[in-house]
């Protein structure tokens, strides 16, 4: 069965449900819709981007209270309070985000606990907010003069918003910024090298999650027509997270699944438990907590993957590999590309790279070799911008690289691969390669969510396909990146680097861990790229691999340049032999 048909069935069920379901279930479905919105934000934040918030209920409260206060006390129309609530949420979410997201993983969730608690007490304390009794008389929403007073009418409004949100988030995840968001869990080094600003991306995701929660709160206030602080406390915030974990992050539908299961379970437990125990109380949290621990121990991806098992994944047709992106003009052969001049890097008292100088000319393959601890990797990181040199100069196409960010360096036309392969395991090969073309696209989060990015997307995917054909992996385009053997993963990394349209390709130990046949293929590929006009600098310690491949060699030892020149001459150099063989 085609997933699209499944979605159509789900939408149809949502459409007719209030006509046939008893009123109690319509109320329940309304709440499921409201919770799904919040859970959707958390699926994006926790499941996809690897961050967490326990304070989403506070953002729901922010939306609800903003509209309740402004409509009841200042006579605003609900349609004006919505943008105001979103604006306030945006500012608070942004400030919380930039404060906490640049740091380690656990500061954001802790900050959201604190923020959730303080907002809860604030809502309960401010007198004009009605204290803990709350505010009544919130006006209904009217659409073109039709007041949404009945629950079954409001139902359609809520689910229209939910479906729109699901559509937008699904679009977003399948786009240029979406691929960057899905790569966030990998750590920042790789995405920075392709021009993504991870801190900014994380903040954006956090803000999106907060905005979805705020919309849910605004809807809640106009559905209930009154607000009090209770549903916005920290326990509710934890339950939202629970919904996202139970549903799972493999698809946006995980949010709806999680919200549905938890809401039904909670209703059922609240009936059942007091009967068993013999007194009233929030005993369902015991079951929820145990369930959450068990889920995290045995099914960390949530329940959705078990259901998806029954739905075959449709292979998406990719645009024909037409060449629609702008390309750089490559420098003419033998013109200077990279000029490293007395570069030096010290870590405290240790001089890792000691006044090293060498250069790389256009259409040349240069190998940077040396025994373990020679400073090759440090030198490589200085050029790629992962580290800043202490002194000296590194010029690329006449531009100084020292002090530039990895992202600027990438823009100048320098692309790299990683010694420890850094592919996003949950994305397909072609999506991984398209990540390399990040800086060649322009469409941002909003345009992608609303699908105003069709041309941009087609161009990026076409370019990714073109690079996959170039390296001979087009047949694997739809495979999960993690399913390929290491040798092929290395080549996918090269395709990803090529997708950024570089002048100079930096390869970090490309042959490490490869089998003989794989090395042969790799060497052939690099030679082919050279013939097409690419300039390559590779760091290696596999002498045999490098010898037949490179035009020139630069040998480092103990941070200093030991020798440079043609491979044969370097190989014959007694100093090099001593460094390598210790003889």
């Amino acid at each position: 069965m085609n997933p699209r048909i499944l979605v159509a069935i789900v939408v149809a069920v949502i459409g007719i449900a209030p006509q046939i379901a008893p009123p109690f279930y319509v109320t329940l479905l309304n709440y499921i819709g409201l919770y799904s919105l919040v859970a959707l934000g958390l699926v994006l934040l926790t499941g996809v981007a690897g961050q967490t918030s326990f304070g989403q209920a506070a953002f729901v409260g922010l939306g609800a209270y903003t509209t309740a206060v402004l409509t009841t006390q200042y006579g605003f129309s609900p349609w004006i309070t919505l943008p105001i609530a979103l604006g306030i949420t945006l500012v608070i979410g942004y400030v919380l985000g930039i404060i906490t997201l640049s740091m380690g993983g656990h500061y954001l969730p802790l900050a959201t606990i604190a923020w959730g608690i303080s907002l809860f007490f604030l809502m309960g304390t401010i007198e004009s907010f009605g204290g803990f009794t709350g505010l009544t008389g919130v006006p209904p929403v009217s659409i073109f003069g039709f007041e949404l007073l009945k629950e079954s009418h409001f139902y359609y409004f809520i689910w229209l918003v939910v479906l729109a949100a699901l559509w937008c988030v699904a679009n977003l995840l399948d786009s240029r910024p979406g691929r960057a968001i899905r790569a966030l869990k990998q750590g920042s080094t790789m995405i920075e090298a392709f021009g993504v600003h991870p801190g900014r991306m994380k903040t954006a995701v956090f803000v999106i999650a907060a905005l979805l929660a705020c919309i849910s709160g605004w809807l809640y206030a106009h559905l209930q027509r009154f607000v009090n602080p209770t549903p916005f406390g920290i326990n509710q915030g934890i339950e939202y997270l629970f919904m996202a974990v139970v549903g799972g992050a493999t698809s946006v539908w995980g949010a709806v699944l999680g919200a549905t299961l938890i809401t039904l379970l909670k209703t059922w437990l609240q009936d059942l438990l007091p009967q068993i125990i013999g007194e009233a109380g929030q005993f369902e949290i015991i079951v929820f907590g145990i369930l959450l621990v068990v889920m995290l121990q045995y099914a960390r991806d949530g329940l959705l993957p078990y259901l998806q098992h029954f739905v075959p994944q449709a292979k998406r047709a990719l645009p024909a590999a037409a060449d629609r992106l702008q390309h750089r003009t490559m420098p003419v052969a033998d013109s200077p590309v990279l000029d490293v001049n007395t570069a030096r890097k010290t870590f405290g008292g240790l001089v890792a790279v000691n006044d090293v100088s060498f250069n790389v000319n256009a259409r040349e393959v240069v190998g940077l070799i040396g025994p373990n601890g020679a400073g090759k990797s440090t030198c490589f990181n200085l050029i790629s911008g992962a580290l800043d040199a202490t002194s000296g100069s590194i010029k690329f196409m006449g531009q100084e690289l020292i002090g530039q960010t990895a992202s600027t360096i990438s823009k100048l036309g320098l692309a790299r691969t990683f010694q420890h392969v850094k592919l996003v395991a949950t994305m397909t090969v072609v999506e991984n390669v398209a990540l390399g073309a990040y800086l060649r696209g322009t469409k941002g989060i909003l345009a992608s969510a609303l699908k105003f990015n069709r041309e941009d997307e087609a161009a990026a995917l076409a370019e990714a396909m073109r690079q996959l054909e170039r390296v001979g992996l087009a047949a694997h385009a739809h495979d999960a990146a993690s399913s390929l053997p290491l040798g092929k993963q290395r080549i996918v990394e090269i395709a990803r680097a090529l997708a950024s349209d570089p002048i100079l390709l930096l390869l970090d130990e490309p042959a490490a861990g490869l089998r003989f046949a794989e090395k042969e293929q790799l060497a052939k590929l690099i030679r082919g790229l050279k013939d097409e006009g690419m300039t390559v600098l590779l760091v290696e310690h596999d002498m045999d691999f490098v010898m037949g491949l490179v035009d020139r060699l630069v040998v480092l030892n103990f941070g200093q340049k030991l020798a440079q020149g043609l491979p044969e001459a370097v190989q014959a150099d007694p100093a090099v032999r001593e460094a390598y063989l210790g003889a």
Binding site: A114, I117, F242, V245, I286, G289
Partner: protein
Amino acid sequence: MDFSIAALLTQDGLTNGAIYCLLALALVLVFAVTRVIFIPQGEFVAFTVLTLASFEQNKLPGTVWLLIALAATVLLAEIVAYRKEPGRMLRAMAASALPCVIAAAIVWAVFAMQAGFALQVAATVIAVTSMGPAIYRLAYQPVATAPVLTLLIVSVAVHFVLTGLGLLFFGAEGARTSAFTGSTFALGSMNVSGQSLLVYAFTVGLVVAMALFFKYTLFGKALRATAANRTGARLVGISPNFAGSLSVTLAAAIGALSGLLIGPITTVYYDSGFLIGLKGFVGAIVGGLASYPIAAGGAIFVGLVEAFSSFWASAYKEVIVFTLILPVLLWRSFTTTHHEEE
């Protein structure tokens, strides 16, 4: 505000701050050893107060049933985990379930014998401390290598479960324990209560004891080794499960002692632990969840802020304390360099 009020507030703030300080130390300890942000720390405090209060009211503490429930669940978990190795199953049961069973028996015996205050206190501390190994075994051990974020979500879930169980076994009624001492001392123009002096003495004593434990005992050194380098510690034969279990057990013991101190000062409900623990947290975060002395200082600062804000803006007391975390985080984000987890 005159001097005497300021002095009173300071005394109040220092007393609460000292208790938060103990909790902050426990949180830093657990995080350093296991990477778990131990949200349920406060529950140990609440359970201690409620257990001791039950003894004082001549009721069988609900702790007995809580311990039996924990022990039964652990037994079940060990049976599932070691169904093919009966020898290891028994050893694992002895390590994680036996303390709970023994503690339940002790609590029951102390209740049945109508024992005196000292024995009640001892039974309470033993009961709460013995929950440590069971909680670690059930919730954290199976996910010990998971990312910090997953561990944090597990912590929150454990907090949920323990709060719910607290309601189930102790009821919704709040409780306060009787003071260890009712005497007051005049210090110049102000009165210092014996209870706050006891809190200070206890806190200082415990901090010194912890310092000695970490410096001179083999277990203390094992915990420090695990905190410094988990893989390295494992290679020299320190079981990460043992270290994790020990750190959570120590945290439970510290929570129990904090509960003894806070019981006579505040009325504690089954769900009070969360806020009390989180205030220790604000302190621990000041220390970046890494430095013991800075965490201790931070926690005392939280106590002082709380005392003074309850005088100036009592309705906003909690708001002020928890909003305090934001500038602290901002400051930390400027002073810490973030290293990527590979």
